[in-house]
Amino acid sequence: MIAEGAFIEVLFPTTEKPRQPGLPHICYCLAVRPPLALVAYTTSAPWPPDAPLPLGIRLFTQEEAIALNQRRAFRLHLNRQARVPLTTSWIPHLNAPNQGVIAVAPERLRQELYDITLELLRRYERNVERLGP
């Protein structure tokens, strides 16, 4: 079932249309608080070679991807999140018996991703305090 640690397909919004269902991406579920879910974006597209990798991006090798029932190496953007309703318009396989869960991160990985998210949040809140929302 969808909960923290699950990888699920979500129609993650695009930069061009940030409030509407976008393209299908496998996302990492950070939290479920019905009627909402908080998910983080993943992509297998290459990162621009001259752009530094910011905090919040976790690279997964092909071996790690396969262990999570995914075919290709990918990167997880914990710094790119979406709050979406728990509906099939955002989570297309929600009504499937397993709610479309592709894999569940093992405990150690969940803790690693939790720690990164916590550090991101601390930095975000420091910036808001310093610069304003």
């Binding site: 409030r19 939290a31 479920v32 752009a51 999140q81 309703p85 991101l120 949040l121």
Partner: protein, 99 residues
Amino acid sequence: MGRNAARQAITLRLDPEQFRRLESLARAENRTPTNYVETAVLRDMAAKEETTRVITMFVAADAAGLVPGPLARTQGESDERYLERSALTDRLFAIPDAE
């Protein structure tokens, strides 16, 4: 004023072989070559902007008015971890939409 009136046009020159590849890639995504290039540039710019942001939060239009309920527990989760995660998600859910 039309959508294009305020938009800046640029000239892009490609070798014929590169243009053929561009056409082929664009066709595969049901895009025009111009739209393909525009989308690729916007994505690259967004990736570079992302390096300067800490968290980008998208809030679905149909989520804006919804109040998040209690956090769903994960299997076998201890009370201590559940409380920690609840506090974390309270703070994450308070982040406003990136727009």
